[in-house]
Subunit: 150 residues, 2 copies
Amino acid sequence: MQKLVVVSGIAAVLFAAAAAAAVKPETAIHYRQSVYTMIGWNFGPMVGMIKDKTPWDQADFAKRAERISQLAPQLLEGFPDGSDKGAETEAKADIWKNMDDFKAKMNDLVRESKALADIAKAGDEAKTREQFKKTAGACKSCHDKYRNEE
Amino acid sequence: MQKLVVVSGIAAVLFAAAAAAAVKPETAIHYRQSVYTMIGWNFGPMVGMIKDKTPWDQADFAKRAERISQLAPQLLEGFPDGSDKGAETEAKADIWKNMDDFKAKMNDLVRESKALADIAKAGDEAKTREQFKKTAGACKSCHDKYRNEE
């Protein structure tokens, strides 16, 4: 009985792994593009404030920074093995050849966007503007190396 | 000078309103579909656990419930006036004819998904399963009335 439970436990783990592996490349591509779309939806108005095209609104900026800090850690799972193709994607195949470096860049974004959310919430405009540059820099650093820009 | 500042302030508010209104329908449609895609990405594995197709994993379930509770309040801004068309969309035009009812249904989802995140985090599987039904019910209630299912 003990043995059966163990075997059943192993089977369950394998089944879960198989289920996770069963995500189709096009589904992962669609998912990660959705995360980027949501980040961009919030990033746009922040850039407008940073460039003084719209009035500075600390509360709105902080709300959007908080959202991006929640979205950023959800990007990486959209890049499973094999999802370099399967649908139209701007992701370069180099990502999967340099996954450790790609993960490090994703971690940079997670860290900087979390700092931005915290600083924006604290309420100092100058510090918020400064940390925004670092966050945008984390975006750019990864795009420069791993994104086929249109 | 005082007057100039006031006028300038009003101009800024008007400009911000114009900028907000300037979101193209297709951009809003693409945005809201992205939020739904992210919700679905997390909802799928939760349904797998609920239906016992994959092993129950309270921590994973709680993580996904937390994400959905953060995403749900971001849906409504994807339905601005005029975004009933402009790109392929499953949203029925009835949404904009019954915006108060649509908002109420969105609030139901926000409330139930927040409760699900809290209950799942607390760790009781039976209570989590029970609250999942209510959350899924909030999804269905809105889809039945306002979504053109494929």
